[in-house]
Subunit: 389 residues, 2 copies
């Protein structure tokens, strides 16, 4: 594969926002274009990730709509959907297109506008990604499945409620310093434990919110990086992995490990030629607090059953050896589903440039790993990125 | 880019079918797998095209669902959507992934199950691909836009109603010999002219139907073709082009030419190194009869305003010099939107193998071109394929 680089990033505030889906996508994209200094270049392709714009907003055919709005016509435009991992699946497609030499310059946009429908409708729309035969017909929701996973993990490894609360506390501690995060306030253990139960044992603070937002990345070939003089601030794609697991949770071998993560990490690290513990900063898909714990173990930075020890010891704090979700993660940064994977990559690109917000910049990271979940734990994309030089 | 081949194809009957969306996708895929003799191989990726399964069927996250159903877990799986050109956009992504060397074996599936909703709902769902601001809010539908285009073309070039009827007549003449076509009967000029008006001047027989169906293609690297001994029946991807036009028809330079076709053909022919008139067989996106005429001119096989002369002279018949839509096209084969682009490629692969149904096999074609439209004429994918040897 030819070398592939990220040369520009942009992101809107995440939260419950006034802007329309197209306005959000335009705002993030214009920032990425400005950041990459490629405003005058011809983009060969536009790749947009959105889980379900048709039902969340009534607007379809987002690929062409955005190519038109951004002035990219006649460049080819494609929408990618793999549930909440749509953002990094879109990045994977951009990497393939540039890696094959089919294009030199590709813009990736991730966007979701979820707050136009009420909470009940949002849950109904999101639940379509689950198994109808084995899950939704019995009233299961993503939160209900996460609760079942948390119960099993607690049973198997002795994790306590107070320990689990450390995950959202860390998320909010980091997110409080992220000016684009949906929630920018710290929370106490009492607050987490006493907030309303969503699905026992998970409370409101164990669950990522329904958010609006967009993020964007400019992906470029070696030629563009060479000609543009952007090498100093470019970030190289070292590895990418994409794997699935059985659609329904009940068909999987384990409740406390997501095998698709293990497989995607294997593929990405093999391509990158480094091991997970060598990576300097991580963004892991913590749609529910219990998932951050399981992800750490599946990614391979914590032994099975012991991720909570690393969290307690501060190893995953911003100033720890293995910083996880300095952005605040999905819990605090927010989770506009189609945008999340793109936002993760945007955030680690800023980390690698040393340009993350004050208080959440990791010290001189050289490599980063993002991990994005689609469905309930069955469609994972993992990327490994390296600082340019 | 590394060489990319098609080594297997499959397709269900198109029409109003009993099977569910997953049953259709499985049927087409199993046929493609059997055809490619790769049933025991590990597929690296599954790419599925579907315009709007969530709203047409209530089933989402089709990528993982199909990876599970087909036994491809843990291979990565991705859904692609560009409106009715989703099928060939999915093929483009598969070509990029294999072309980059990220995978050796990729299955592409195109599927749409449209008949679970009533006709009015289907029209509402499909119309989301149009511009809300400039089109749907004024009550426009795809058929209404096509009628406007037809009126303008008739005004500019003197095309008559009787002449336009030759297009669906040819489609049905070919489709009558295609055992998988939605409609398998010939129609007379009286039948076309006297059928109900959908949008004046277009009658029912000028419009492709709402169909259910699936098609599938196995895409493979040079290594697989070499090792499998499938070279004799493999088809090579010579070129691929993807382009957009302004979202709303009113913002385009012309009503009687779709510029995205011109751009996509330019890109595909440049990559393939051949000119359109050198191609031996064509599948062009005739969602409405007037589009076959315009497509012929935009693709570059008929001078502007004169496509109808070629049709009259039989040049685009199965035994003509430039056979267009020997399958029956969207009009007669049917148009399950996400499946159409994949079905077009499947059909020309059979043509290049000399394995098309009796009566619609073109004589010894060496090269083929497919042209697939997304939105109302604003997201085009063109592929050029060559017989293996």
């Amino acid at each position: 594969m030819k070398p592939v680089h990220v040369v520009g990033v942009g992101m809107t505030r995440f939260g419950r926002l006034e802007q329309s889906i197209t306005e959000l996508a335009v705002e993030a994209s214009l920032e990425a274009l400005k950041d990459s200094e490629t405003l005058d270049s011809r983009f060969d392709r536009l790749i947009i990730a959105s889980q379900n714009p048709d039902e969340f907003t009534g607007i379809g055919h987002l690929s062409t709509l955005m190519a038109d709005r951004l002035g990219f016509v006649p460049s080819g435009a494609t929408r990618i959907e793999t549930g909440p991992s749509s953002g990094s699946s879109a990045f994977e497609v951009a990497v393939a297109i540039v890696g094959a030499g089919m294009a030199d310059l590709v813009i990736v946009i991730g966007v979701e506008k979820m707050s136009e429908v009420d909470g009940r409708s949002a849950s109904r729309i999101l639940s379509k990604m689950m198994s109808q035969e084995s899950e939704t017909r019995y009233g299961a929701t993503p939160a209900a499945l996460a609760a079942m996973v948390a119960r099993r993990y607690m049973h198997d490894y002795g994790l306590t409620r107070d320990e689990l609360s450390l995950v959202p506390m860390k998320a909010h501690r980091n997110g409080a310093k992220n000016p684009l995060a949906h929630f920018q306030k710290e929370v106490t253990i009492e607050k987490v434990n006493s907030s309303p139960i969503v699905a026992d044992p998970l409370t409101l603070y164990d669950c990522s919110p329904v958010s609006d937002g967009a993020a964007s990345i400019v992906v470029a070939s070696e030629r563009i990086v060479e000609e543009s003089g952007l090498r100093d601030r470019s970030v190289q794609v070292l590895g990418i992995g994409h794997a699935t697991d059985h659609h329904a949770v009940q068909h999987r071998l384990s409740l406390t490990s997501l095998n698709a993560t293990v497989q995607a990490v294997r593929e990405a690290t093999k391509m990158a030629g480094i091991s997970p513990t060598e990576v300097d900063v991580f963004e892991l898909h913590d749609a529910f607090s219990i998932l951050e714990i399981i992800n750490m173990e599946d990614v391979g930075i914590a032994p099975r059953g012991s991720a909570i020890e690393l969290i307690k010891e501060g190893v995953t704090d911003v100033d720890g050896d293995l910083p996880v979700n300095p952005s605040g993660g999905l819990k605090s940064r927010g989770h506009p589903t189609g945008a999340t994977g793109v936002a993760q990559i945007r955030d680690v690109v800023l980390q690698l440039r040393g340009a993350a917000p004050k208080g959440i910049q990791v010290e001189s990271p050289e490599t980063a790993l993002t991990h994005n979940i689609g469905g309930f734990g069955n469609n994972m994309v993992v990327t490994i990125l390296k600082k340019g030089s």
